[in-house]
Symmetry: C2
Subunit: 333 residues, 2 copies
């Protein structure tokens, strides 16, 4: 930086001011500085800048796992938003473990990030005390704990559940099975609520809710066990993308044809659902907007907004495809 200053014949403070745009500088000087910086391929040293300044240009994002495309899509959309503003992103995953979550957030905090975004591993979100005592702004995504002091961005989970159930009910389904990962997650519970309410409003039997765990293997195993009994739901709503895959797998193993024998609505909409055979009707979360909103929250905290925590709830959309149809006529036995 001293080199740039010398070359532009100004002080290093001026270089700093020009490059950071933090102070107004005469355009003639600014020009010289920019040119000198370009000539020397000068790049500011983030470490030094971070050390000295109050706030650097990094933030962290923590998700339960990088193997779930929902979370990585979220990271991608956040990245698109933040990149333009010159911020860099530290990414960490928790392997679905609370202790790891604390460890990772703690490590992130050592970088004095300008903020951190987190999809909590559990509803406890015990790590939030770390964030709060450090005074770092944070925004919670997707899974929302109670008593959060940070901003919150999520989709309308109850509304998504309702959408799925209403679609099925409109087609004449009266016996709906709900397959979810864990009811210990508030967003999953909200989706169930939406389905339940829609069933009630539609005058349809209360849906059965099956908790099948978080890994693909668990889903398949427990669902198969449940379906072994002579049960007759005519439709299934799967509450996550993993659950959707598990359901598909089991249905095909049991030769339960979709949609002829049973209809299926998935959650989280991915390309493979559209090209699958049959293509899968799904509830789509507005991932791109969630990412943008999260970044906007962080931005305004950076800019010093002292407003009370935001609670942003974004609507889901139903993508109707081939996996849902009017239930087969069943002879009364």
């Amino acid at each position: 930086m001293a080199d740039v200053a010398r070359r532009a014949r100004v002080s290093s403070a001026t270089v700093s001011n020009v490059l950071s745009g933090r102070k107004v500088v005469a355009s003639a000087l600014a020009e010289r500085v920019h040119k000198a910086a370009a000539d020397l391929d000068y790049q500011i040293d983030r470490a030094a800048s971070l050390l000295r300044g109050k706030r650097g240009k990094v933030f962290g994002i923590v998700v339960p796992t990088l193997e779930n495309p929902f979370f990585t899509a979220l990271i991608a959309s956040v990245e698109r938003a933040a990149q333009d503003d010159g911020y860099d992103i530290l990414v960490a995953s928790t392997a679905d473990d609370d202790a790891t979550e604390r460890a990772r957030i703690s490590a992130l905090l050592a970088w004095r990030p300008i903020g951190v975004m987190v999809v909590p591993t559990s509803d406890e979100f015990s790590s939030r005390t770390l964030l709060e005592t450090s005074g770092t702004p944070y925004v919670v995504l997707d899974r929302v704990a109670t008593g959060i002091r940070g901003d919150v961005v999520q989709c309308d989970n109850e509304g998504g559940g309702r959408l799925a159930a209403q679609h099925l009910i409109a087609q004449g389904h009266e016996d709906i099975l709900v397959v979810g990962s864990t009811l210990s997650l508030a967003n999953i519970r909200a989706r169930c609520d939406g389905i339940r309410k829609a069933c009630q409003a539609g005058g349809v039997r209360r849906p059965t809710i099956l908790e099948v765990g978080i890994t693909f293997e668990d889903v398949a195993e427990r669902l198969k066990a449940w379906l072994a009994a002579p049960r007759r739901p005519t439709a299934i709503v799967a509450l996550t993308n993993f659950a959707t895959m598990g359901v598909m797998s089991v249905l095909s193993q049991l030769s339960l044809l979709v949609p002829d024998r049973i209809s299926l609505v998935g959650f989280d909409d991915y390309t493979w659902m559209a090209v699958s055979n049959p293509s899968i009707t799904a509830i789509r979360q507005p991932i791109e907007i969630m990412g943008r909103s999260a970044w906007d929250c962080l931005r305004s905290r950076i800019d010093g907004a002292k407003t009370p925590p935001n609670r942003i709830v974004l609507p889901c959309r139903l993508e109707v495809r081939q996996s849902t149809r009017r239930p087969m006529e069943v002879s009364v036995s």
Copy 2:
């Protein structure tokens, strides 16, 4: 850190030495230091440490996009490996654009990373000069440019192609269509080579190679156009996961039943391929091992290894499922 030093009644230098393990310290003092640090919830300040030390504990990883599960799975496996050693990861994506790649790598370099891993956006990999002039160790993953001075980790693309073709040929297919994104990528070309050689060795007609672009939409459109002519391949090898989805979509639109009318082998193996109907036979890349190997390369460079660049080539595996079978008997016309 001064607080910790005071509490442990040693100098800050000793604290630094104990905590970094860079120098041998009497165990009595070390003990006191650790205790003091724990009592105060002390966390080293990465910015200061990075500024003063020669090498900090961050590295960068740059991929073409975070929307492709292949790349994010790679990141996940690298993260698992690096986390244990206390390294943090800066993640960046290039939106499949060379200029963005340069910009992102340049930004990463401002953090003085201990190294950077990159899946180049193109075979040019023009950004490598940035890396090389900065003297930062780097490892290139998956897509391999020529003249690289850094380490290289990739799968045996030619072998993967061969595996796919041999499987098909063994089933009696003689007319194979290859659907790839771009031949401008060396790994795609290598896969084609493998297929071609296997066809030749198997005494089977030279495969047709169709270049369909990088997005899902392009794939679908160009493939559909090509299949509009009365062509009769009995099998398709799709060279990426996006290509695989595109092929599935088109095949189902044209009512070309898999595997009855046409067999399909995909590349990159994901859960949805296993639960799809029919399940998709695929070439699986050893992603976990690729990530581990890449980290091992970086580790040894960190430890000062001056050995010539590694060229690590990992074998692919064929997962046989329902999408491939003996071709239908065709009446000679």
